[in-house]
Symmetry: C2
Subunit: 356 residues, 2 copies
């Protein structure tokens, strides 16, 4: 990793070289290039001219060392699970809109690699000044791990997941509001037999969605039969299985199913179709997330839209503020969601759906 020289020139050009050739001191060069202080226009011209002529590029390492700063924002995410994902892309581009102003760049770390099993390794990234702050995009990370990180004075924020810990700063969409919008929508369509298919129980956001479902039903004075609360894990297959159970059970069948995310909603719709049920005539289905797959699959899923890009920009603003102020962030921030009504939901039919 050592050499950085082109065949011919042996040492890289430094500020001193530019200074000498411009007949000024290095400080003047520094001032011109940092654009800050007032410099005599003639000197400025000379400096800029030789800078261009020598093709000089300031050494960021030296600059950052002298200024005790870092121009990288660390992004920690499990490569295998998230990098190829719409969610990740959206968070990043949202984040980017803010960090671009400060000319910050991204450093990318695979937090699922063995190396980061110990939170101290992630903290080291920060302490070694490889990154001025950390954007953590890793839903599966344990609260304990993150709490430890917070205890080590690392500037960071977790994105896309609700962490139930005051000391851990996190940003995600307003899960509760989203589910309540979905349930409310179904209630307005006349549904009362509304079942729910949940998400991975380890995820704080999944917990929030489930609780919100129960609250919304209770608020509408509807008692939820135990079997209406189905487990799930955000996969097509889990949605499929739980829907299959609900639609073939000997107990009451739902006229509508609220799935904890779009993926499992797709499984629900698949299952319904396999049983010859029409969506939405025989069964209404709602999802959650509104990322691309819902469209790609040629579905017209009524779902809760979360603005991932906005989560990214909010995260960026907060993280930058924390980095500048030196104050750690605290607690959770909810970003608004919106119900997108498409054609997987409709009014409840007078006749109950046919039992298979």
């Amino acid at each position: 990793m050592t050499p950085n020289n082109q065949p011919g020139e042996n040492k890289s050009i430094t500020m001193r070289d530019v200074a000498k050739q411009s007949g000024v001191s290095p400080m003047t060069v520094s001032r011109v290039l940092s654009g800050s202080q007032t410099v005599d226009p003639e000197l400025r011209r000379r400096v800029l001219s030789t800078t261009a002529r020598l093709n000089y590029a300031p050494n960021a390492l030296a600059s950052n060392l002298a200024r005790n700063r870092t121009e990288f924002i660390g992004v920690a995410t499990p490569f295998k699970d998230l990098v190829g994902t719409t969610f990740f892309r959206e968070v990043l581009t949202g984040f980017q809109t803010i960090t671009d102003r400060d000319k910050l760049d991204f450093a990318l770390f695979d937090c699922a690699s063995e190396r980061f099993n110990d939170p101290r390794e992630l903290a080291a990234i920060y302490r070694q000044k490889k990154a001025g702050g950390l954007l953590i995009v890793a839903p599966q990370m344990h609260g304990r791990y993150l709490k430890t990180l917070a205890g080590m004075g690392v500037a960071f924020v977790v994105v896309g997941e609700y962490i139930d810990d005051e000391e851990v700063p996190s940003i995600s969409c307003d899960d509760a509001a989203g589910i309540k919008l979905a349930v409310q929508h179904l209630l307005e369509l006349g549904h009362r037999d509304i079942a729910y298919i949940g998400g991975p129980p380890m995820l704080g956001s999944a917990k929030r969605r489930e609780i919100a479902y129960m609250e919304a039903m209770t608020a509408a004075d509807i008692e939820v039969p135990a079997h209406f609360l189905q487990p799930g894990d955000y996969t097509i297959i889990s949605g499929h299985e739980s829907a299959q159970f609900l639609l073939t059970s000997k107990r009451k069948h739902p006229t509508a199913i609220v799935a904890a995310n779009d993926i499992s909603a797709i499984g629900v719709i698949e299952a319904a179709r396999e049983f010859g049920m029409r969506v939405p005539e025989d069964l209404s289905v709602t999802g959650f997330d509104d990322l691309s797959p819902a469209h790609e699959h040629g579905l017209f899923l009524t779902t809760v839209h979360q603005s991932v890009a906005e989560i990214g920009t909010v995260a960026a603003r907060m993280l930058l503020k924390s980095i500048e102020s030196g104050q750690p962030l605290l607690g959770h921030v909810d970003v608004d969601v919106a119900l997108v009504v498409r054609s997987s939901t409709g009014p409840v039919e007078s006749a109950p759906p046919a039992v298979l």
Copy 2:
């Protein structure tokens, strides 16, 4: 971006601090931590002990400045187009398997942003030592742009696209071999009326695939009717349209279609089904890439598999070698492909497919 201190401790701990508290010189600390030289076991113990006690983390900026190196590999890619992509994820994880050994990290740059309109800006990343080398994952980048980059002595390699320029190092799958495998497979199934739906003409890899199709047909002594060479742009819709044209033309209809990638192959199959044709009984279809979408869509597409992860590892090895040696890379490297026969291809039927 300035402060990095926790409330209470005002300056970060340096090697000097560790040295003092261990009763040794900073050099000894350096030696212990870099693990290199021989150090008295007793001193080593003391140093390690106080390192842990003080929670010391070496400043990477200072270290890299002193050693004139950089521990970041720059990854340049258009965020919007590629970051959310299986291809990108696979390249990165493949790359990672090599860079992990050297404890290198990734710096991520959005080469589609205005900032990088000028290749000098990308070169600056390298010259400023923000990255020791560049992995460019950007199929749409112009050869001229890349040639300029090469001329500026930047250590880099382009991945996933064939760049027709000896000075520009690139790595991609062996497009020609892949298409020839597909055509050969169809020939063996008895097809002779094999049409081709191409890719974006600006892409070198698309050009190579098309040329290979022509060569394979010619080698089999089959004359290709002009309308058998259909344009396309790697999208479902382009595959759909070209297939529609081929299957409704007044001229001869193909019994098999080779699509330049999986996505357009999906469009072909959709179109065929709309015309009531069965795949593969009435029409054989092959794709190219074998990334996830082909499976996600519930298709069983016979296709050319490219090992993206391997492209990543090959790229990593080459780039690291170039960085170490200071020698620029040159020319293109092909990574092997393999035909994956699934159920979208079959023997040609005796009766020609029904004309719509």
